[in-house]
């Protein structure tokens, strides 16, 4: 098979933000009539690369050629004019307008300033027909499923004679049959000679639809592969890498085996708990002093499990039990009453109240549990906060500073402190080490070990498998919103086996 000419070439793209190199000499080639998957874990540089491609960011280094011509986009609009259209995961349409308008608004056909509705409907119908979608284009967009809205967004993108179509995680909220529908459309577009850049976290989907893929890690390109020539295991390895952080002291600690723990009734157990559209029913038990790691790629359902166990979302099936007694969580408060704590993944939006001080953020959960009428006495607050600021080495060690002024690692510690002072029995940590510096990371990992040694049950979620493996007694592997297997952390378990489980979706 002879290599065709790529329609788009990005060469040596570099992009730095203050203090961070987001992209470092990244190459990307897109071929007409091919689906190209862009793979990488969080922070690998995928979204930065897409933003450079679509003109939302300006790159510092490298060059882009489109159809052989060098191009430089001043903004998304220009990129679109040049034939690069993007459909984002968060559908950027107006749900209150009709389907036809959403396809064509901004380019609506007019005569003497009057919108020609019939011409507009016809044009929209044509565009949707190309996607094999026959719906009433006069109906409100909001009345349709996310999948249809996604297709409408694609139709809008195609209206401007697109050469390159960027689909940024279009499948993250679609169910299986909807994904099939989308893939049918993508194949049709492929046959029309459009180059598609496809971003997803679902490995199966990549192998189903992509012809070629580029893997990024830490802002660099790991490589470009033909899908047929790269096994799933190699892909996972390429994405995750095997770099080990400098964490000697924990490295030296003996492997944390399940056998070392006394078994008994789990502190918290889930039996067939699930929520439609979020996570398939799963069963999981977490014992006293046990660290259970959740391994899986981004979007595989890790956070969803955490939220169900904390009562932040309600399960629609199955039973959660605390100490073997069935419980129903009406909300986070009821989970908290049973000694469950949850440090959410997104510190800024779900965790901290940025306006409040470090002290206030730390006592928030304890105070919430007591109710507003029974304040934690100021002296006790200062003592508790002081103790944890010291124990966790929160810097600057000024409890009266607004928490927004702290670095990511210190903010994470504040969040940890908030839950530690409630003395929980199960601590759910969702990506506690993401986006923080190596030193803080090591401290948090050490803390997890200490807590479990002290008898606390921990559910540890991280995208970094080494970390999961190092800290956990048991690793539950997730793939495509399903808990596929549980691996005990015995001698035989290593990174490769966990990766294999993620890649294959079955026990090994």
């Amino acid at each position: 098979m002879s290599e065709r000419e790529p329609v788009l070439v990005m060469r040596g793209i570099g992009k730095r933000f203050p203090g961070v190199v987001a992209l470092d000499g990244v190459d990307l080639r897109l071929f007409p009539g091919e689906v190209h998957a862009l793979m990488g874990e969080n922070g690998a540089g995928k979204s930065t690369l897409i933003k450079v491609l679509t003109g939302a960011y300006h790159h510092d280094q490298g060059d882009i050629t489109l159809g052989g011509e060098p191009v430089a986009f001043a903004g998304p609009h220009q990129a679109q004019q040049a034939g690069i259209s993007t459909v984002y995961q968060e559908i950027n349409l107006c749900p209150n307008l009709s389907v036809a308008e959403n396809v064509l608004i901004g380019r609506a056909p007019t005569r003497f300033g009057r919108i020609r509705w019939s011409a507009m409907r016809r044009r929209a119908e044509e565009l949707l027909a190309r996607l094999q979608l026959s719906i009433d284009v006069g109906s409100d967009l909001g009345a349709h499923s996310i999948a249809v809205q996604q297709l409408v967004a694609i139709a809008r993108a195609l209206d401007v004679d697109a050469k390159v179509l960027v689909l940024d995680e279009p499948t993250s909220s679609l169910d299986a049959s909807e994904v099939d529908q989308l893939f049918r459309v993508m194949r049709g577009l492929k046959d029309d000679g459009i180059a598609i850049l496809f971003v997803t976290h679902f490995l199966d989907q990549v192998y189903e639809i992509a012809d070629r893929m580029t893997v990024l890690r830490n802002g660099r390109r790991v490589g470009e592969y033909r899908t047929a020539e790269l096994s799933q295991l190699d892909l996972v390895a390429a994405m995750i890498g095997k770099e080990l952080a400098a964490l000697e002291d924990i490295e030296e600690a003996p492997r944390r085996e399940v056998a070392a723990l006394e078994r008994g009734t789990p502190v918290v157990s889930a039996d067939g708990v699930g929520r439609a559209g979020a996570i398939a029913p799963f069963s999981l038990g977490i014992h006293k002093g046990e660290v259970v790691g959740l391994a899986g790629l981004l979007g595989s359902g890790r956070t969803e499990i955490a939220r169900l166990l904390f009562g932040a979302d309600r399960s629609d099936q199955g039973q959660i039990a605390v100490d073997g007694t069935p419980v129903t969580f009406r909300g986070p408060q009821s989970a908290m009453r049973h000694g469950i704590a949850y440090c959410p993944e997104n510190r800024r939006t779900d965790g901290l109240v940025e306006e409040l001080t470090v002290r206030e953020n730390i006592v928030l959960a304890l105070q919430a549990a007591r109710g507003w009428a029974r304040p934690v006495p100021r002296g006790r607050q200062d003592e508790l906060v002081g103790r944890f600021v010291k124990a966790l080495d929160i810097r600057p060690a000024d409890p009266e500073l607004p928490v927004r002024n702290l670095s990511g690692g210190n903010q994470q510690k504040v969040l940890l402190a908030r839950w530690l002072i409630t003395e929980p029995r199960l601590m759910i940590l969702d990506e506690p080490t993401r986006g923080i510096d190596v030193g803080a990371k090591a401290e948090i990992q050490r803390l997890v070990v200490e807590l479990s040694d002290g008898g606390m049950a921990v559910l540890f979620i991280s995208a970094e498998l080494e970390e999961v493996l190092r800290l956990s007694h048991k690793v539950a592997v997730l793939r495509d919103r399903r808990l596929v297997t549980e691996l005990e952390n015995t001698d035989g378990l290593d990174l490769d086996r966990v990766m294999a489980a993620i890649a294959s979706g079955g026990a090994t």
């Binding site: 909001g142 986070p332 959410p344 306006e355 409040l356 959960a365």
Partner: protein, 361 residues
């Protein structure tokens, strides 16, 4: 080091979402109460220039008199309404119905008193006052229910009572202006206690109570948490519903007390005009005081300064001899100036996302 400390202090006070201003400005200027306090002082000094005896306070018949005392006395109702409004705004809400509540409160109290055999009976007046405040609490509960439980946008939810409330007030008074002749009731607005005007004492006491309750209990902090980040607050286990309802009830009760003062001043109840536009003045006072309309950090001290500023403005205009109605013009200028001073000029970005829940509607 000192600069860092001062900035930290400033940061704590500002509580705004804006990025910090340039380093060239002094920290004093960046204190969030700087502009309102400066403006208040400026007004007072300006008055002194116009009326040399402006700052004079004299003791006459054991009662304090003077222009400054008048500002405090006349400003008491606004201060109370703004006080309650501060709590509501801290949750990220707003209460448009306070003006109507002011009217209803005065109407019910006067209607009850007018039915008394002896309008001078302290017991009867107390019952009337208690009934009026109870009704106000009920109205606050209604607002809180619509916002906290049904989940209607605060501005809309309270609009209902803002419109219907005037009708209710007139319903109570039978469309008449009810005049009462009750010395105990009259004392609420015009009496003196230990030389100090009663309304000033009431306002000061309520401000103190609210300040104590919010800052000594965890109420204030949890309120700020809910207003600052509702999602994170839920995940920290805070029951925001309860807090929101309490805030609206407190706001309505404060407005109710203000309503008693307003009607007591003239010994009558006017369902149509009592407390007209006070909701806007109150919101203005809160915003001037540095509490963001988006919710979160609130400052009761700031609200007090804001209310005093507005009242001083009224008084100033009156003493200068401009028709009092023109005060509105000056308020407009104050609002525009304050907004522009606080607005980070020409932020290019399309800021302030609306919550997705609203967008998907």
């Amino acid at each position: 080091m000192a600069v860092a400390l001062a900035r930290r202090q400033m940061e704590r006070w500002r509580g705004s979402r804006e990025p910090r201003g340039s380093d060239g400005m002094s920290n004093l200027v960046r204190h969030r109460l700087f502009w309102p306090v400066a403006m208040l002082l400026l007004l007072l000094v300006g008055n002194l220039a116009f009326t040399p005896g402006f700052f004079a306070i004299e003791l006459r018949d054991g009662h304090l008199f003077g222009a400054l005392i008048d500002i405090l006395r006349q400003g008491a109702p606004l201060m109370l309404v703004a006080l309650g409004m501060t709590l509501v705004i801290a949750t990220g809400g707003i209460d448009l119905s306070v003006g109507a509540v002011v009217a209803i409160s005065g109407a019910l109290a006067c209607q009850q008193i007018s039915q008394l055999g002896d309008q001078g009976a302290v017991g009867g007046v107390l019952v009337a006052v208690a009934l009026a405040l109870l009704l106000c609490a009920g109205l606050g509960l209604w607002n809180g229910f619509l916002v906290g439980v049904v989940g209607i946008q605060p501005i809309i939810a309270t609009l209902i009572l803002m419109i219907a409330g005037r009708g209710v007030a007139q319903l109570i008074t039978g469309g008449q202006i009810i005049n009462v002749n009750s010395p105990p009731y009259k004392a609420i607005a015009t009496g003196f206690l230990l030389a100090v005007p009663v309304p000033v004492i009431i306002a000061a006491a309520l401000v103190a109570v609210v300040a104590l309750v919010t800052r000594r209990s965890a109420f204030g902090m949890l309120l700020e948490s809910v207003g600052g980040n509702a999602g994170a607050s839920r995940l920290a286990g805070i029951r925001s519903r309860q807090l929101i309802i309490i805030a609206y009830v407190a706001c309505a009760v404060c407005a109710g007390v203000a309503g008693l003062m307003v009607s007591s001043t003239v010994s009558s109840a006017d369902g149509n005009n009592a407390g007209l536009l006070i909701e806007l003045d109150a919101i203005l006072a809160v915003v001037i005081g540095g509490t963001s309309l988006l919710g979160g950090r609130f400052s009761i001290a700031g609200t007090v300064v804001g209310a005093l500023l507005i009242k001083t403005l009224d008084t100033t205009i009156y003493t200068i001899g401009i028709p009092p109605e023109v005060t509105l013009l000056f308020k407009a200028v104050v609002v525009v100036v304050l907004c522009l001073v606080q607005a980070p000029a020409f932020r290019a970005r399309f800021a302030r996302r609306r919550p997705t829940a609203e967008v998907s509607a």
